[in-house]
Amino acid sequence: MTEPFLLKAESLSIHRQGRTLVDKASLSLQAGKVVSLIGPNGAGKTTLIRALMKLLKIDEGHLHIKEGLRIGYMPQKLNLDASLPITVLAFLSLNQKRDEHFFESAEKTDVRCIFERPMQSLSGGELQRVLLCRAILKKPQLLILDEPAQGLDVNGQAELYRLIAQLRDELNCGVLMVSHDLHFVMAATDEVICLNQHICCHGHPEKVSLHPEYLKLFGQQQAANVALYTHHHDHQHGVHGELIEPCNHNH
């Protein structure tokens, strides 16, 4: 791939309170590519992407970021203090002109009808939509989304996935997304990174889905059946138990 990277991390490690949260993770993000980051709960996904945006101190490794890179970020959770009164419209307009693109983005993320609501009284899904809208408003060169589908209703989820594809195609924007939705990940992303403190495996979705580490993490049945939610299946358990075990394969 000759296209220059937007962001490149070389063997990042992050330690906190004597634990290693991210262990020598390397990755690079390019314009026009959708990369998704998967992994079990507590794998360090949020930690890693926050480190990529310099929101956390990196303990080891290097991070190269293209100069002047515009990032749109949608955090996994956001606490809003009630003492600052602000409506959705005012929030979205902070440092932002209300031009055509503005209303277009609002339309796409379905927030026009809640413009006048105070931010603090939004429901979980409404807040997610507003955050998504804010993230895409600046015509970002890189979009970083932390479990964006969480809390969205079915229409919202479909719209989200459509939007990601559209942004990639129209703005040639790079996307890094954390998701637990393996179906979407496998169907619609260009590269999958499977994280479990270290990067277990990464590459094209088809390849990753056959990788032994991937199967170990998510279980063969799980990986195939997860969307069907038969609650009678016997699934393999112990993902968390394995989290603390060392990884004994090369990659």
Binding site: R70, Y73, P75, D81, P85, I86, F91, N95
Partner: protein, 276 residues
């Protein structure tokens, strides 16, 4: 307890009261928007901590023979810097940090005063100040500060609001969060320190938080809250000074009481409005 002397009218007093009134107006205008940031960032007791830091400054200034006014401004700025550093540590909330710093500096300054044997440093002159002693020099100085502050706030308003809402988002969007946080703290500290000698720490703190708290209940946007806070502060100032004149009560407490009445009025009207 109204005035017994009929010769004393407002016009008669104008040359005495003009500088204090102008000072009060400038302080109120600055306190309005700064107070919003104080409320948003949970720094309600910053003014109190600053008063105590100022006292420590005065005590140390006595020992090192530095001028008190300089010592006050210096120590307030140092406290602001210190606080903006330690707040990174999120295990303790802002009010706890302020409490520790404020009580600590008060205690140390009392000891310093005792050890230095420096007679009676008026512990609470800084708490009440003396608005009536304001001169035109003060007015000009405060007006100048106000202009700079207004320029800064207007230029960076959106960024500052964004920062108060969520620091992470602001950082990712390219706002220089650390720099603005420090500037904001120093601005609050500086204005407080400048105003302390005149209106006292009690009044300046109260003029920051009470109008902002009143404005919160009636506003749906940050800009509107700042403007309402300014108006509430001005209203409290005017009403307080009039009351002080009419009923012959101390000016500072009278203004604070007026601010409290404005707050209660705001609370009631917010209740009425929300029930409609």
């Amino acid at each position: 307890m109204s005035l017994s002397n009929p010769v004393i009218t407002i016009t008669n007093m104008l040359d005495l009261l003009l500088a204090p009134v102008l000072t009060g107006i400038f302080v109120a205008l600055m306190a309005g928007p700064l107070g919003c940031f104080v409320v948003w960032r949970r720094l309600a007791y910053f003014g109190d901590a600053l008063a105590h830091a100022a006292l420590l400054g005065v005590a140390l200034g006595l020992i090192l023979s530095v001028s008190p006014q300089l010592a006050i401004v210096m120590s307030c700025v140092v406290l602001a810097l210190l606080l903006s550093q330690v707040r990174q540590d999120s295990q303790l909330s802002a009010d706890t940090w302020l409490g520790v710093l404020s009580h600590g500096s008060l205690a140390i300054s009392i000891i310093a005063i005792t050890v230095a044997g420096a007679g009676r440093v008026d512990l609470y002159g800084y708490l009440f100040g003396d608005l009536l002693a304001a001169t035109y020099r003060d007015v000009i100085l405060l007006g100048f500060c106000g202009l700079i502050l207004a320029a800064y706030l207007i230029r960076y308003w959106d960024s500052l609001v964004c920062l108060c809402l969520n620091e992470d988002l602001a950082k990712v969007e390219g706002i220089a969060v650390e720099r603005h946080k420090v500037i904001l703290m120093i601005a609050i500290a500086f204005v407080t320190a400048m105003a302390m000698k005149l209106v006292g720490a009690l009044l300046i703190t109260a003029l920051m938080i009470i109008p902002a708290a009143s404005a919160r209940m009636l506003s749906n946007g940050p800009g509107r809250m700042a403007v309402l806070a300014m108006s509430a502060a001005l209203l409290a100032l005017g009403a307080g000074m009039l009351a002080s004149f009419h009923w012959d009560v101390p000016t500072g407490p009278s203004i604070v009481t007026a601010a409290c009445l404005v707050f209660m009025f705001g609370k009631i009207s917010a209740k009425v409005l929300s029930q409609k």
